[in-house]
Symmetry: C2
Subunit: 380 residues, 2 copies
DNA sequence: TTGAAAGCGATACCAA
DNA sequence: TTGGTATCGCTTTCAA
């Protein structure tokens, strides 16, 4: 009875897959290119370790109920054979073990691309340890992003999604809500969240209020903000916070939209050309702040004496301009880690609503980094 | 023997999976969170369309041997039910239908992030039509990237890989060669390619030679290039091409490495501070060119009269600096499309070496975009 | 042109 | 603690 134990339905004593031989092309589905080596399966590992496949699976997944010696032997054998569980097979039973971030990559968002990858890098570190992978994809518009997520959810390709750069009236929210898919919203606190969602809030509102106080303390009376893409909730939130702090000090505030570098340049141009231009300009990101510096230079407006500039997002480039840019710190790494943790939370929340994890985590921006682009206004 | 064929060992006549009801929680693997709606499977579609699952599969995949009416009905029903084939199940038989690009994302590569996503966006358009998806992941070093690809290959997660930013002695090459996995190499012609690889070559060598001629024609006699990360084959190739063209005209050439914005700034600083500094500087990317402009301004070196600057990679920012930057075009979109096509080629090359597809495609850079940062040198 | 059913490679239940 | 095996949802022979 011991030797009959193999589940080989076609009477085939000692010949089919055994033998140690390497069948050029296993009977079933053609292995995609790369031919040659047949990759080992759990059966190979089980046989080599002299146990059943169940034990291999248990050992691999660190479940209890496997003798320590057995576990070690199995893991060693698996390692020797270079075996890793096939994602497809695993997903088929247990559901997908990956999540996706679909970056809305319209031309204007160029500078955000780098930080998206930084965010993912940080998140992946957290996720790796839990065996979850996070993939990045791109879409031209929020609608396309929503479409992709819908499709991939239907295909059971991903177990959840990460959403960044929320817009007002964002198509992705509706899509995710209807699927309904676990999701992590990055950046905004104002989104009503179903239990399957978590959000990682970047507290730039506080930081922008600080910017307002900072500029007020310096003595500025006319401040403008050059905001990013129209619908972005983040830019609106920042503008509101800034406006609030300034109005409290009785300071004149103006917001101008400059979506994408070209339009930003145009907007700054007309803003600074006017007779009584503001004495301080706050931008959303580092690239736009660079544009402001350049336009000011062209108009012969001296920074920081005639014009103070604050970059809304700090980056390496902010240190290298002349003058270097005062900026709001952007803690991508901490944000990414928080995203990773939140994602693990939603993915594990297997329909267990009693989960104690907070639906929202806030990452503080930290204090303004003051550099050379800000000063008291020229008292002319 | 015919009726016994079903491997249902527990006698279970007419009760197991049939019945049409929608079990709240199918007996098998717990469906990951999101509970509620059970997503339809091919069986549901087959039943609703009154055909077998085989027909549904054939219809979906556009194989011949299905009556046109049947095909249409099946597709309509599938659409009504919102059915999409589960990736896991499909992959299990047919192999993975996705490929990955692992971006090596060291701090210095910040500016390349945007173009990586642009590349992927363009490639995805081509791939989508063929039902292939391309995912982006990040890794801190080439070794980590190699590690990830090895693992994902063992897990049958991806059918192939896209490799960008090749380095000399690149760990990824060795890893991929040993797997052996289908791959598309972006950017370099010098890599010996196994049959399962294709390469998309960006012909910046020709473009950089043109830059050399252009500067020679303007009358420059001392030219320097600020190269990117040490090991990058692309930057080396560019430097070589530039050096070649310049030496042909008997012009002095010097290459300085400035990996990352900070070191780039330092390198430019010492380069321009020397008594007899070059009259023209060529950089690898747009960001570094911006740094050159800034350093020059600080040292009161007038661009373009006392110093000409050429950006090795054109980008939106090059138009907005003062002066605007003369640059080598970077046709990301065409590169991405080529990558998509090449990827389809390697993935389809199911161990069929008689495939007629060229192992390498070259994308031309196009003519130098001359803007305001270049001029004849000051004849002082 | 269609249907029946054998896998693909894991996980997880139930018995031993 | 371990083994046997049904099951996940497709694709793909092989017969009808």
């Amino acid at each position: 009875m011991v030797s009959t134990a193999r589940p080989n339905h076609h009477e085939d004593p000692d010949n089919s897959t055994g033998k140690g031989g390497i069948p050029a092309s296993p009977r079933g589905g053609r292995p995609r290119s790369g031919e040659g080596k047949r990759r080992p399966t759990i059966v190979d590992v089980a046989r080599a370790a002299g146990v059943s496949t169940a034990v291999v699976s248990y050992a691999l997944n660190g479940r209890r109920g496997v003798a320590e010696v057995t576990r070690e032997r199995v893991l060693r054998v698996a390692d020797e054979l270079g075996w890793r569980p096939a994602t497809a097979a695993r997903s088929l039973r247990a559901g997908p073990g990956a999540a996706a971030l679909v970056a809305v990559h319209d031309g204007a968002a160029g500078s955000r691309a780098a930080s998206t990858l930084d965010l993912v890098t940080a998140a992946s570190e957290v996720l790796d340890d839990a065996g979850v992978t996070l993939a990045v994809h791109t879409a031209g518009t929020v609608e396309q992003a929503a479409h992709l997520m819908r499709r991939w959810w239907a295909e059971r390709r991903y177990a959840g999604f990460v959403v960044t750069g929320l817009r007002s009236d964002d198509a992705r929210l509706a899509a995710l809500r209807h699927l309904p898919a676990p999701a992590v919203m990055v950046g905004d606190p104002s989104v009503p969240a179903p239990p399957a969602w978590r959000s990682v809030v970047f507290d730039d509102a506080t930081a922008f209020a600080q910017v307002g106080e900072f500029l007020a303390d310096l003595g500025h009376r006319r401040v403008a903000m050059l905001t990013g893409a129209e619908g972005l909730l983040a830019t609106r939130r920042r503008a509101t916070a800034l406006a609030g702090a300034l109005s409290k000090a009785g300071i004149d505030f103006d917001a101008v939209t400059g979506d994408g570098v070209d339009r930003a340049a145009a907007a700054v141009g007309s803003l600074l050309s006017s007779g009584s231009h503001p004495t301080a300009v706050v931008t959303d990101d580092d690239v736009t702040a660079g544009v402001v510096l350049d336009v000011a230079r062209r108009l012969e407006i001296a920074v920081p004496w005639q014009l103070s500039v604050v970059a809304g997002t700090d980056a390496a480039a902010c240190r290298l301009t002349t003058p270097s840019l005062t900026a709001v710190p952007y803690p991508v790494e901490r944000l990414g880690q928080a995203v990773g943790q939140a994602l693990l939370g939603v993915l594990r929340a297997d329909g267990a609503p009693n989960e104690k994890a907070p639906p929202s985590v806030t990452v503080a921006a930290g204090g303004l980094v003051v550099r050379g682009s800000t000063a008291p206004p020229d008292p002319r």
